[in-house]
């Protein structure tokens, strides 16, 4: 099989913004001195007049974006997750979320990775629909629900499992909220066993969202793979993913154990 092309999701974000900039004249991009890293620099190069650097001042950036939106424009405020979801959380909560309730076309939090990820979706047939999961593989023994970088790992894990005689379904949940309840309940009915994988804490992310759906709609056994409520540390990204079990090998091992224990 030919080697899959790889691309960082942040790269796709920058390219998408640059592309959407043609379509939506109302689209503006803000960054907080990280245009090279978040890849909004791609947009900046194409639309220098519609790009505003806010300097190393994320709280203000979120507020400015809220003001722009209130004046009728579509701002994309980009920075690292730590700053967007951490430092400027209160600004997002109080200045942006409130306003979005009125404008209806609400605020959106998007998460991108630095690491190059394999491009495996077929661009001709793949359709992105907010809040709708995508079933990538059918299977009756276990359903692997993955998001972001882990989707590809889940697909690879399912192949290995198939060779062992375990049929694993694979579902890509790209939107954590609103979560696609139907696809999760359907998988639970079929397999009675779900396994979530995310490059994120096991608390408050995909795993928690799926647990929420199962507990309320169709109780089924759930195994969560993610960062297990522990502090992170530095290292090459690929090695860290392995260390935290965020790889196909670990998915295979956990899925195998869970199916055996069924």
């Amino acid at each position: 099989m030919a080697e899959l092309k790889k691309k960082a999701t942040r790269e796709s974000y920058g390219e998408a913004l640059a592309e959407l900039g043609d379509k939506y004249e109302n689209l503006y991009v803000f960054d907080a001195d990280l245009a090279a890293a978040t890849k909004t620099g791609i947009f900046k190069k194409k639309f220098p007049d519609r790009f505003f650097d806010c300097g190393i001042a994320e709280s203000n950036m979120m507020g400015v974006a809220a003001g722009m939106a209130a004046a009728g424009k579509i701002p994309f405020a980009s920075t690292f997750a730590m700053f967007a979801a951490g430092r400027a959380f209160e600004q997002v909560r109080n200045s942006i979320a409130v306003e979005a309730a009125i404008l209806h076309n609400g605020p959106v939090y998007m998460r991108f990775g630095r690491l190059a990820a394999p491009i495996f979706n077929d661009p001709d047939n793949y359709k992105f629909e907010l809040g709708k999961g995508v079933k990538l593989r059918e299977g009756k023994d276990i359903a692997i629900v993955a998001t972001g970088l882990m989707v590809y790992e889940a697909v690879e894990a399912a192949k290995t499992l198939a060779a062992e005689g375990i049929e694993a379904a694979v579902i890509n949940i790209h939107t954590i909220k609103p979560i696609d309840e139907d696809i999760i309940v359907e998988a639970a009915k079929k397999t009675k066993l779900l396994l979530t994988v995310e490059e994120h804490s096991v608390i408050g992310g995909l795993g928690s969202a799926v647990a929420d759906v199962l507990a309320q709609k169709y109780p089924a056994k759930l195994v969560k793979i993610g960062v297990n409520d522990e502090f992170g540390h530095s290292g090459p990204a690929v090695e860290l993913l392995k260390q935290y079990g965020l790889c196909a090998e670990n998915i295979v091992a956990k899925a195998r154990d869970a199916v055996k224990a069924k």
């Binding site: 003001g67 722009m68 004046a71 209160e90 200045s95 306003e99």
Partner: protein, 279 residues
């Protein structure tokens, strides 16, 4: 300022003050002190300065106001009601369950341009609106009102840097310098002084004014109009609780409502002022 206009503004300001007292009294909570200190400013802005349209509150070219010191919403509501954005009757149900008037400014209320109240955030939103106006060559102006305690928030200075960097000369910030914050005198709690020098060093055009003198306010805002290429701040010396003798310069009225007796006394005082103006 034209004497007739001045008298009219003074009368309107009294009515705004009565509206503030009515709202806070009926809510049994809220912030009368800092509301009364900006009553004259809001009266000047909405009745002599800003292009606003009570029958078309969302008119795209309207001037905008972000009350960054959002806890003084009663002053904004009383002014908007006086201007005709909604019935004055609404002031009676301020902060009540199911009422339109929320404890802090909410963008769903006619005439309110931005939700605010978490200190330090309103000025950033005002920057966003001003930047939007610049980009689209809109003619509107953006005004934002900050408390002198509020500028202890770091975000204010991020916004100050931003506004000067992007030369937002369609933005006018007003600092309501009444010298008091909840815990006491601003000099004692955490001095933001010298306020004028700080803004000047951030690249702003700085003007000082007397918050309770319409001639001074007019002069300040007229000067603001002439400034090109930089944002303007008007540091306005004010009296917290202005207009009600027992509330003036008394920090305990920062965030507490008057009881029946106090309310009646306050209304009586303002009505006396009103009578002497109208008489």
């Amino acid at each position: 300022m034209d004497e007739t206009l001045k008298k009219q503004l003074q009368i309107t300001a009294c009515k705004v003050r009565l509206g503030i007292l009515e709202g806070v009294f009926n809510a049994k909570s809220g912030h009368p002190g800092g509301s009364l200190s900006i009553a004259d400013l809001l009266t000047y802005l909405y009745f002599a300065k800003m292009n606003v349209y009570p029958d078309k509150p969302d008119e795209p070219q309207r001037d905008r106001l972000v009350l960054s010191k959002g806890h003084t919403a009663p002053a904004l509501y009383a002014t908007l009601a006086e201007k005709g954005f909604f019935p004055k009757e609404e002031l009676k149900s301020l902060r009540h369950v199911g009422a339109m008037l929320q404890g802090h400014p909410c963008i769903t209320i006619p005439g309110v341009d931005m939700s605010s109240g978490s200190l330090g955030q309103g000025i950033s939103a005002a920057c966003g609106m001003a930047l939007s106006g610049k980009i689209s060559s809109d003619t509107y102006k953006v005004y934002t009102i900050l408390g002198d305690g509020e500028i202890e928030e770091g975000q204010v200075w991020e916004a100050a840097m931003f506004a000067a960097h992007y030369k937002l000369d369609n933005l006018v910030a007003v600092v309501d310098n009444n010298g008091l914050q909840i815990d006491g005198k601003i000099d004692d709690v955490m001095s933001p002084y010298p306020i004028t020098d700080k803004f000047a060093s951030f690249g702003w055009h700085v003007i000082t004014a007397d918050a309770h003198d319409f001639d001074s306010l007019e002069k300040a805002f007229d000067e603001a109009e002439t400034v090109c290429g930089q944002p303007v701040v008007i540091v306005m010396k004010s009296v917290k609780g202005k207009g009600v003798s027992f509330m003036e310069n008394n920090v305990s009225w920062h965030g507490s409502a008057p009881n029946q007796e106090q309310y009646e006394q306050a209304v009586k005082e303002i009505n006396e002022t009103l009578k002497s103006l109208e008489g």
